[in-house]
Every structure is written in C-alpha cells, then in structure tokens.
C-alpha cells in the first residue's frame, strides 16, 4: 500500500468551501461469520457515538454517521483526498438475524456490529430416544 513520494502543495481544482448540501458517502465495510452470527465492521473515521445513528426498521439496518472534524472556517483546502461527508449505508437483514440481540460498538472510528443468529437457526442436536 505504499505510495511514492508526492508533492502535496499543488493546489487542486477549486472546491466549494462550505457546501450547503451535505454529501453522503459509502463507508467501506467487512462482514464475516462468527460462531454466533455475523460481524460487520465499518470504517467511520471522525464519527463519535454522538454522531452515529444505527436503526432497524422492519428488516433494514441503516447506519448513518456524521464525522465531527472541526476545520476552522477560514481554512482553505489545498489538497484533497477525501470528502468530509456523512456516512450512509443500509443492509437488508435476513430472518436469521435476532434483531433484539444486535449489539454495536464504536472505537477509533470503527463501528462493530454483531448480528447474532436466532437460536432457531443455530444447529441443534436432537436426541433420539430408543423406544
């Protein structure tokens, strides 16, 4: 992932300094299976718990994060590689997910959501009795 040396002082194309409209962007995520269900991790740099909204409606899980990065107003953007926009992404959960058991944690700008499987979906051994 190393990048060659690059000059950073080259001014980029003019960008509106304080856009009236807030843009949203899609955060990169990882989803993997664990013993109890699925683990979702999303990169939300700059987002604190106050700026995070996690919502489930019907079977849709929506995450919305507003980064709290305070740049002084008079700051002129000289070089840009990311947008200071809100994060938005939503997912459709299957019936296998135990909605009430969902837990989330936010640390160092990374959101971690554990989506446990409903017990019904977990493999269960059925005892067979001899008659």
């Amino acid at each position: 992932m190393s990048t060659p040396q690059e000059p950073i002082e080259t001014p980029q194309s003019e960008e509106p300094k304080a856009p009236a409209v807030r843009w949203v962007r899609t955060p990169p995520i990882d989803i993997f299976e664990t013993e109890n269900g699925l683990m979702l991790r999303a990169d939300l740099p700059g987002v604190a718990t106050e700026g995070l909204e996690l919502q489930i409606q019907d079977n849709r899980l929506t995450l919305f994060g507003r980064p709290a990065v305070d740049i002084p107003d008079q700051g002129a953007l000289v070089h840009q590689e990311f947008e200071t926009a809100d994060f938005l992404r939503s997912f459709i959960l299957s019936d296998d997910v135990d909605h009430d058991g969902i837990t989330a944690k936010l640390q160092h700008g990374v959101l971690e959501v554990l989506l446990p499987r409903t017990t019904r979906a977990q493999p269960r051994k059925i005892d067979v009795q001899s008659g």
Binding site: T3, D30, I31, I71, G75, V78, F91
Partner: protein, 157 residues
C-alpha cells in the same frame, strides 16, 4: 444463504454512481496508488498561521502509528490489522484496506518542523504544521562605493 442483500435497486444504483464519481476524482488526483483507495486519505488545509493535515486512520492505534519529519519531508507509516485471525472463507465482504502502509509527503515551504503537533481522535489524525513567522521587510543599505571604503571588522592592516 446470504444474510445481507443490498438495499433497494435504487440504493445500489446511487452507490454505484457515487463510486464512479469518486473513482473519477481519484484518477484526477493521480496519487499513484495501485489499490485505488489511498490509505490514509489526506486533506491539507491552509490557515493563517499554520497548515492542517487531516488524515483518515480508522481503527489505527497510536502505538501502530509513526510520524516523522526531516528535510521538508513528512513520513507517515504504520500497520493496520483488521481482524483477529478470521479465516478468509469466513468473509462475506471485504472492502476495508489492511496491512502495512506508508506515505511520504513533501511539506509546504516555510513550515516549522520542530513545532509540528499531532493528535489522533476517533480515527482522525490531525497534524498542525505551524508556518514560520513572516519577517518584516528589511531595507538593505547600499553604500556608495566611491565615498566609502569597505572595511571588514577585525581585518588587520
């Protein structure tokens, strides 16, 4: 069986549109990264008395981050470990970049290298790069070569 599906068809379309937008902009930037997504993404702001370099470093611990400066070059490096030994076949989706990273940036001119301050909060790195104070223009006296003789202090005759 997939527990996740993309939202409505429209959502997916909007995502794609946004992705394209970003991709084009990224090409514009010609950052030279092979993966397409530079890590960490950096923005540089110019203020009256300082430059502010803001980097997105989600999930990076202070211990895993190294910042050094020398001769007008700022070097940021570290390693990003994402998941505690999760086997590859357990992943349903893998978009977050990981591994060792390294970026070198040429600082703007006239930055006080010994006064650089760094902070890392909620995965955002902020580097304050104070500018050197501007000096008052100083007038340099020009002597008339015919009327005065150049004498060097300590110059023995």
């Amino acid at each position: 069986m997939a527990l996740f599906r993309w939202g409505s068809a429209f959502d997916a379309f909007r995502d794609l549109e946004r992705e394209m937008d970003r991709w084009i902009r990224r090409l514009d930037m010609a950052t030279g990264s092979r993966s397409g997504r530079v890590f960490p993404a950096l923005n540089l702001y110019e203020l009256e008395y300082e430059y502010l370099l803001v980097g997105e470093l989600p999930g990076v611990d202070i211990q895993d981050l190294e910042v050094s400066v020398a001769g007008g070059q700022l070097r940021l490096s570290g390693e990003r470990r994402l998941s505690d030994d999760v086997e590859d076949d357990r992943y349903r989706r893998r978009e977050r970049s990981c591994g060792a990273w390294n970026r070198q940036i040429q600082l703007p001119p006239r930055v006080q290298e010994d006064q650089i301050r760094a902070e890392l909060v909620h995965g955002i790195l902020k580097l304050h790069l104070p500018k050197m104070p501007t000096t008052e223009p100083r007038k340099i006296a020009i002597q008339d070569a015919s009327s005065s003789q150049l004498s060097l202090p300590g110059g023995a005759e």
